[in-house]
C-alpha cells in the first residue's frame, strides 16, 4: 500500500492494475441497473434492434438507400453515439460519485474511471452485436475485412477512456461540467452523421463538419469495415491518432496536476 505515496501517475497505474476491483465494481453497477427487471440486459438488445430496424427501414426509404446497408449504418451509429455520449456525460461525475469510497480508503481514481467506461462499453458491445446479427440476417455478408472494425472499437475505447479521465478530474472541481458537456453533445449530435448518411451534407460548404469531427471519424472506422468489408480511409485513422495523443497529454496533465488536491473538493 505504501506505493500510493508515489506520484499521481503511479497511483493511476496502480489502479489500472487492480483488475479484480474494477471488474467487481462494473459487474455491480450493471447488476444494480437491471435489478428486478424482467429482461435485464435483454432491454439493450431490444432497444438497439428496435431503433436499427425501425429507423433503418424508414430512413432507407427516405434516402433511397437499401435497407441491408442502412440498418447496420444507423444501428452502429446509434450504438457508437450512445457509448460516446453516455460515457462522457457520466464521466464528469465519476470521481465525485466515488467520494463515499475515496474518503474512507485510499483507492486510486483510475479504478472508478475504468469501471465507468467499462460499463458503458458493455452496453455498447451488446448493442453492436445485436445490430451485427440483425444485419447479417438481412443479407449483409461478413468478410475478413470486417475485422477492421475491432481496430476501430479499440480506438474508440481508448479515446473515451482518456477523455473521461480528463473530464472526471475537471468535473470534480467544476460541478457544472456535466451540464456543459450535455449541451456540447447535443450540438455535436446534429453535426455528426449518426442517423443520416454523410453524403447529405457533403458538397454544401459543410465538409468541415465531417472532416474535423472526431466522432464522425470514429463512426467511419467502425462502420466502414462492417458494411463494406474494408478499412476506413487512412485520413480517419491518422486524424484519430493525432487527437488521441492530445487526449493522452490532457489526461496525464489533469491527473498529475489535479489528482493530489482533489480529495478536498469531494
Amino acid at each position: 500500500m505504501s506505493s500510493f505515496s508515489g506520484s499521481q501517475l503511479q497511483s493511476f497505474w496502480v489502479g489500472l492494475k487492480m483488475t479484480d476491483l474494477w471488474l467487481y465494481f462494473a459487474k455491480n453497477s450493471v447488476q444494480s441497473r437491471f435489478r428486478r427487471s424482467f429482461l435485464g440486459l435483454g432491454w439493450i438488445v431490444l432497444n438497439s434492434l428496435a431503433f436499427a430496424l425501425g429507423a433503418g427501414y424508414l430512413w432507407a426509404q427516405i434516402f433511397q438507400i437499401e435497407a441491408r446497408e442502412f440498418v447496420p449504418y444507423i444501428g452502429l451509429g446509434f450504438a457508437i453515439w450512445g457509448f460516446v455520449a453516455a460515457s462522457l456525460t457520466d464521466g464528469c461525475d465519476v470521481i465525485f460519485a466515488s467520494s463515499s469510497f475515496t474518503k474512507q480508503i485510499r483507492i486510486p481514481y483510475s479504478v472508478f474511471i475504468t469501471q465507468s467506461v467499462l460499463v458503458h462499453f458493455i452496453y455498447f458491445f451488446i448493442a453492436f452485436l445485436s445490430t451485427l446479427i440483425a444485419s447479417y440476417i438481412l443479407g449483409l455478408a461478413p468478410t475478413l475485412g470486417s475485422l477492421w472494425a475491432l481496430v476501430g472499437i479499440l480506438i474508440m475505447f481508448t479515446m473515451s477512456f482518456l477523455t473521461v479521465t480528463t473530464l472526471s478530474y475537471l468535473g470534480a472541481r467544476f460541478r457544472d461540467l456535466s451540464h456543459a458537456i450535455g449541451s456540447i453533445l447535443q450540438i455535436l449530435f446534429v453535426m455528426t452523421p449518426v442517423i443520416y448518411p454523410a453524403e447529405v451534407i457533403s458538397g454544401r460548404n459543410l465538409d468541415w463538419i465531417v472532416n474535423f469531427n472526431p466522432v464522425n471519424s470514429l463512426l467511419e472506422v467502425i462502420r466502414t469495415p462492417v458494411i463494406h468489408g474494408t478499412p476506413a480511409e487512412l485520413y480517419h485513422y491518422s486524424f484519430l491518432a493525432c487527437i488521441t495523443v492530445i487526449l493522452l497529454l490532457t489526461a496525464m496533465c489533469s491527473s498529475a496536476v489535479l489528482g493530489r488536491r482533489i480529495i478536498f473538493w469531494l
Binding site: 500500500m1 505504501s2 500510493f4 505515496s5 487492480m18 479484480d20 476491483l21 467487481y24 455491480n28 444494480s32 435489478r35 463515499s100 469510497f101 475515496t102 474518503k103 474512507q104 480508503i105 485510499r106 483507492i107 472541481r173 467544476f174 460541478r175 457544472d176 461540467l177 456543459a180 493530489r260 488536491r261 480529495i263 478536498f264 473538493w265
Partner: protein, 243 residues
Amino acid sequence: MDIGLEYPLFDAADRSIKHLIQRLLKGKSKPTNVHRALKNISASMRDGERIGIVGLNGAGKSTLLKVIAGIYPISSGKLSVEGNISTLLDLAVGMDLERTGRENIVARLYIMGYRHRETAQMVAPIVEFAELGDFIDQPVRTYSSGMFVRLAFSIAVSVDPEILILDEFLGAGDAAFFSKAQAAMDDLTQKGKLLIVASHSMPLVEQKCTRALWLNEGTLMMDDEPRLVVKEYLEFCAAGAHK
C-alpha cells in the same frame, strides 16, 4: 513525521465554471478560505503501540488519521508510513446498502487490494467474528447501527493489518461486542501491530492505550502517557466550560 496540512474550503458558488469566468473577466478574486487543519505535528509511532488521540470536536483528530492513512495529502513536512493499513473511519461509508453483509465483506476485501482467490477463504472468519446470524445474508439497509459497527469492525480487524486506524468506532456496539473488539485489538498489538485510535472515551484511552496524543486546533498539545494526557485534557475542557 513533521507534518502540516492546509486545505481550501470551497462553498457551492466557488465550484462552478460561472464563478471561474466571473473571476477571469472582472479580475475579481475572492481569496479562497484556507483552513490550516494540522500545524507542524511531529510524532513517530512504532509497532506494538496503542495510540489514543484526544481533542475537542474539530481539533484535527480525524484529519490526522486520514493523513496517516494516505487519504489526505500533506501540504508541508514529511510523512513516512511502513506497512499495510486498515481503516475504520466512517461506518456507513463504502457500504452498498442494497447488498448483503456477506457481499459487502467481499467488496471491502477487493477494495483493500485482495485478489479474487484470496477473498474466498477470508470471508468465513469475518462472518464468524461479526456474529450477525442470519442477518449476514440480508441487505445491509436492514441493519441497526450496532450491526453496522459489528460488520465494519470485523472486516477491519480480520484483514490482519500492520496498522489499524479507528475513528470513534464502538459507540453503537453492545457491551458483548465491545469486549470482544477490545480483545481483538489487544491481540493485534501483542502481535506487534500498531493501533491508532481517535476517541472521546477517556476510560478507553486511559486503560487501553499505551500512549496518548492531544490535539487542539491542529496543534499537538501533548504526547505522553495516557493518564497524564487525559488529566491535562480534562482540565483544559473544564477551564473552557467555565469561561
